[in-house]
Structures are given as C-alpha cells and as structure tokens.
C-alpha cells in the first residue's frame, strides 16, 4: 500500500503519512513530546542505546516503534527504509511519519518516524543474561557480519553500524540480524572499498564500546573479550565478502569448479543469481564471477516444498529432517514433492499442532520445530533409542517450551522495567536516554 497523507489541517497543521493504521495513529498524543507520553499509551519493549527518544505503541494489534527526530531526517529515513525493503534486505518495515507536530502552547515538536515492530525480534541487550558466554556474543556478531555483507552487496553504506542499530531474531542456533536505523545510510550503485572500510571501522569501535558497556553493567560473563568480539566482525565480514565476490580463474577443463563454487556459496546460505564465465582469447583459462543475490537458498527450497516460512538456518535444519524422512520412505518411490507434503502433514504439523495456544507465542513455529528436533535427538541419544514423535513432542512442550520466554513481542510491564537492572530503558525515568 502506498503512503498518503491522512490529513493536513491548514498550513503548519499535523500531517500523518502512513501506509496503514492512519486513523488509529491520529488518536495518539502528538501534541506531547514523546518522552512525556502517558505510560498507558506505551508498550514496554526493551530498546537499544539510541540518541533519539524511541517508544513503542500498540496500533490495531500491531506494535509500532515511534522515533522522534528532525523532519528532514525522518522523511529521508522513511524512504531509505522503503528502498531497502524493495531490495529485499532484512530491515524494519517503515510505516510512515508524522510532521507538523506542535505542543499545546503552539511550540514546534520534532517529527516522528514510524516503523512496524518485527515479531520475535529482540535488541541485543535483551539477549544477554549474566551467564551469557562468548559463544553467544560471537553468534550475534556473525549475524551482524552477514547483514553488513548483504547491505554492502546492494550498495548500502550504513554509516552507523552497531548492535544497537540492529534487531536479532533466532535462526536455529544462530541469529539473523535486521537493520533498524537507516538514518545515516546512503544507497549507491556500488560501494567503494573506502565506504566498506568506513562501515567496518565504525562497527569495530561501536561493538567494542557496546560490549565494554555490557561488561561494566555486569550483564555478560567477565571473560568475554570486548576487543576480541569486535575484531571478529571484521574477520567474519572479510571472509564472507571474499568468498562471495572473488573472481576465480581456472582451466577450461575444470568446469566442475563452477558447481563447486555455487555449492560453497549455497552452503553459506547465499543464492547465486547468475554466473559470468569468460574465457581467454586462447580458450585455456576461464574466469568465474558469481552474482550473489541474497541468502535464501534453503528458505526458498523449504517454502517451495512445504509452504513453511523459516529463516536460513532453520530451513536448512528442517530440510535435513525432511530429507531423512524421505530416505525412510524411499521404498515407496515418492517424489520429492510428495514426500515433502507427507512430512509436513505427518511430522511438522503434528508437532506444531500439539503446542497449546498459550505457548504458541513463545517462539516462531520454525524455531519451535528446530528446538523440538534438538530435544528429540538429545533424548534419543541419552536413552539409546528412537524416541517416537508424539512422546518427544509431549516432553519437549512440558520440559522446554513451557519454560521459554515469550518472544512474539517481548513485552514487559512498565513497572517491571522501572526496577530492571538488566540494562533496558524504562519509558521515562530520565526523559531522553543518551
């Protein structure tokens, strides 16, 4: 749906431009600074460190993030996020912006940028517990490295790479990162090495600062090395960037290397859109330059076969289970599609169907299934037998899922946030946070 101004009541009046929920948005107290919005209007979601006032509100069942900023910045960021969505980059969905705000005395207030909250997404600070080890820290940074590579591949210079400007969702044992703040970003046809280096330098500094801060707050294991974690981003990014973008030269007799390269990129989760193979004038050597589209190889295969939505690592894990299931049915001579339909009906739907309604918001369906697979494997190994599907499902729900935190929209009571010591910002103890 395209965005259109809801109303512009006279020169200098309030103007809401929104792709959806415009009528409900108009009911919000735009004549008050965001930092002073009444608590009952707000949803208590944990936030990252921001230089702006950010609050969450519930609009027609959807959770919307409201960020107060200068008008030209809000409008620019709105359209930048729209471009990124069009380019299929993982980022928050822009909903609209509100201009022409004035307080009750007629003083101008900053513009508000509206984005839709991503279900099951969490800021990095919400993923940490006092027992968090360097493994979790590394996985977060790995996810950010993948995001940065994807952004750079489409020509997006971020200009403010940090964990705070990113949201994370679980993807099997890993995380997937989503860009949240595009305020400083620029879209180019292609990035120069200098622009990429600038983003990496910023990321290095910001991640080190963010981890030092978590450590100072006692929120992570004191043995996690903030400098080491921030170095890791550069290493992972460089490794991935080189694998994705390097041009290979080989003998024309080694055509199999084309397949090998594609397989390696697929294993990293990236699709190869097209491959340019050029040969020398004498036809002896060939140059291979893959055009990497985006991660999604396993996602698309799973979606095609079963209709199930998942992230890349979840999809890979589910497909492994599907492939094993198909092997067990081999004597029946089913096609891949037929076996997938049966797996979906007799395995996936059975597990998800057993989850009580009050637990279904704990995790995304694909993540629940991934965890179920883990649980069944652990039980089977411990008991040295194949634990049947129903039995494993029941014990997973009772012993694991019931004790998980609800991550659909990790909402917490405002009172609880006020006394929180885990690094989240209460809606308004100090006004704007730093």
């Amino acid at each position: 749906m395209s965005a259109a101004p809801l109303r512009t009541p006279g020169a200098g009046g309030l103007s809401i431009t929104a792709a959806a929920h415009a009528e409900d948005l108009a009911e919000l107290p735009w004549d008050q600074p965001l930092a002073e919005w009444p608590v009952q209007k707000l949803v208590g979601l944990p936030r990252g460190i921001s230089r702006h006032v950010v609050r969450f509100v519930e609009i027609s069942g959807a959770i919307v993030a409201v960020k107060e900023t200068r008008e030209h910045l809000a409008v620019r960021e709105y359209y930048m996020l729209k471009d990124l969505v069009r380019l299929d980059v993982p980022c928050v969905r822009p909903l609209g912006f509100v201009r022409g705000r004035r307080d009750r005395d007629g003083n101008p207030l900053d513009c508000a940028l509206l984005t839709t909250h991503l279900r099951f997404s969490l800021p990095y600070r919400a993923l940490f517990t006092r027992s968090m080890d360097s493994g979790t820290a590394a996985r977060l940074v790995d996810a950010l490295a993948v995001l940065l590579v994807r952004l750079h591949l489409v020509g997006f210079f971020w200009g403010d790479v940090s964990l705070s400007n990113t949201l994370f969702t679980r993807d099997a044992e890993a995380f997937q990162a989503f860009l949240v703040d595009a305020e400083t970003g620029e879209l180019h046809e292609e990035l120069t090495d200098g622009q990429r280096e600038h983003d990496l330098t910023l990321a290095h500094t910001n991640i080190a600062g963010e981890f030092m801060d978590l450590q100072a707050g006692g929120l992570i294991d004191p043995h996690v090395d903030p400098l080491g974690v921030s170095e890791r981003l550069r290493e992972r990014y460089t490794e991935l960037w080189q694998e994705i973008t390097r041009t290979e030269t080989f003998s024309t007799a080694e055509r199999w290397r084309v397949d090998e390269r594609v397989r390696r990129l697929n294993e990293l989760g990236f699709d190869v859109g097209e491959i340019a193979v050029t040969t020398d004038i004498d036809g002896v050597t060939a140059h291979l330059e893959p055009k990497v589209v985006a991660p999604g190889h396993h996602v698309r295969r799973l979606k095609r076969l079963t209709g199930v939505d998942a992230k890349e690592n979840q999809a890979r894990r589910l497909l492994n289970d599907l492939d094993q299931y198909r092997t067990s049915l081999e004597y029946e001579g089913l096609s891949e599609e037929e076996a997938a339909a049966r797996w979906k009906r007799e395995v996936f739907d059975v597990v998800l169907g057993a989850v009580p309604a009050d637990l279904s918001g704990k995790l995304e369906p694909a993540q629940i299934f991934h965890e179920f697979l883990d649980h069944r494997w652990l039980r089977s190994e411990a008991e040295q037998r194949d634990v049947p599907l129903q039995e494993a499902t029941a014990s997973y729900i009772a012993e694991v899922l019931r004790h998980r935190r609800d991550e659909a929209s990790y909402i917490r009571a405002v009172d609880e946030q006020d006394s929180d010591t885990a690094g989240f910002y209460p809606p308004d103890p100090q006004g704007e946070h730093p």
Binding site: I49, D160, G194, Q195, M212, D213, A216, P434
Partner: protein, 226 residues
C-alpha cells in the same frame, strides 16, 4: 596541528552519472577553523572522507603539511572524523565513555587516564568524569561525544554536520562550544555543514562553498581556495 591541502582532487563513485568532486584545490592553514558549506549531495562528506582516507580520490593529491597522504592508510593519517553518532554507553562512566576508543587503540591505562583528564578539562567535564551519562545535561553529552575525537589528539579534526540531529536550543550552544574549543586548542578543523545559519555563525575563519562537486566560492580573502 598541521595544514591540509587538496590539489586538483577528483572523485567519482562507480557508475555515477556525474563526478562527486571536480578539480578541488583548497588549502587550510595549520590551526585554522574552516567551514565547508554546501547543499546536501554537494560532495562535502566525500571530500572529508577523501581527506580522512576513507575514500580514494580518482585524481589529484591530498597533503597533510608537506606530506603526500593520498595513498596513506586511514589509521596512519592522524586525521579524525568525529562521528555524528553520539550515543553514550549507560553503564560506562563519562571517563570510560571518553577513553574506550583509546583502549581500543591499545594505549596504556596511564596514558588513557592522562588524555581523558586533559580532554575533560578542555571540555569542562572534569566534575562529571565519574558520573554515568544519565546524569549529564544534553549539552554535556554532546561534549563527551566530541571528547571521543579529541582524546585521540589528532592533527586534523573533521566534523561532518555535527549539529544535524540537535534540537534548536542545543544547536546554538553546541555550535558555540565547538568554536570556542577549537580556538583554544588550535586543532586544524574542517566543519562541513548544509546550514546557511551555521556557515554564517562560524565563518570567522576560512570558508569555502561546495556545489555539485565544485569548490565555487572561496569567500574569505587569503584563506580560501588558492
């Protein structure tokens, strides 16, 4: 402090319709405060990035003093670009918010302590060094962000639209602080802005206007483009 010279600098982004920078010749004397004014998209940020070593010019040369730094890696240039991001870390004290970039650079604790103390004095933050950022006023928070660049004691300081995100009230105050601080420290500074008000308010020193990649109006006699 050191002088800075752009000599016939050219820059084009790959596949761009027009070049970003064309025939840039500009010298800023050691210790000067230079304002680079131009509308959004005029090439200001690119010019600063070329100087900081984050962008390679497609032609021409860049000098710091007599040294040709055109191909020198960014970390070796002694030129610091202050980030417009000024998010402070809530669990770190003001001193640690200032000093963490030095820890990252591998400096000793003694050296970090000494540099932080000096920057805090220059920025009038000594009294709040042990405080958490939440206890600071808005203007103090901006001074801490500026301090992160100053503790690195650069020869040249680059400020790219540093007031872009500030409300009107803080805007003037921080702008004045930057000017006063630069006058006291005499760090060669380039201040890029698309605000005519800022450009006028700060135009006591060198000023140049960039438009569509060309340095068109060297305003101050004897101090702008040669």
């Amino acid at each position: 402090m050191a002088s800075v010279s752009f000599v016939d600098v050219q820059h084009s982004y790959p596949h761009a319709i027009r070049p970003t920078l064309v025939d840039i010749d500009w010298t800023i004397r050691a210790g000067e405060f230079a304002v680079l004014y131009g509308p959004p998209g005029s090439g200001k940020s690119t010019l600063l990035r070329v100087l900081a070593g984050l962008e390679a010019p497609t032609g021409g040369a860049v000098f710091r003093g007599d040294l040709d730094i055109t191909r020198m890696p960014a970390p070796d240039r002694d030129i610091v670009m202050a980030l417009d991001s000024y998010a402070l870390y809530p669990h770190l004290s003001v001193a640690d918010n200032l000093g963490f970039v030095l820890r990252l650079a591998g400096l000793s604790s003694e050296e970090i302590e000494q540099r932080v103390a000096q920057a805090a004095e220059q920025l009038e933050l000594t009294e709040v060094l042990a405080s958490a950022p939440a206890a600071l006023t808005s203007a103090q928070r901006h001074r801490v962000a500026l301090g992160r660049a100053l503790v690195r004691r650069p020869s040249v300081l680059l400020l790219d639209e540093p007031l872009n995100q500030l409300g009107e009230e803080d805007h003037e105050q921080v702008r004045e602080q930057i000017r006063t601080l630069q006058a006291a420290l005499r760090i060669t500074t380039i201040y890029a802005t698309s605000s005519q008000d800022d450009a006028q308010a700060l135009s006591g020193g060198t000023m140049a206007v960039l438009d569509k990649g060309r340095l068109t109006v060297p305003v101050r006699e004897g101090t702008a483009a040669p």
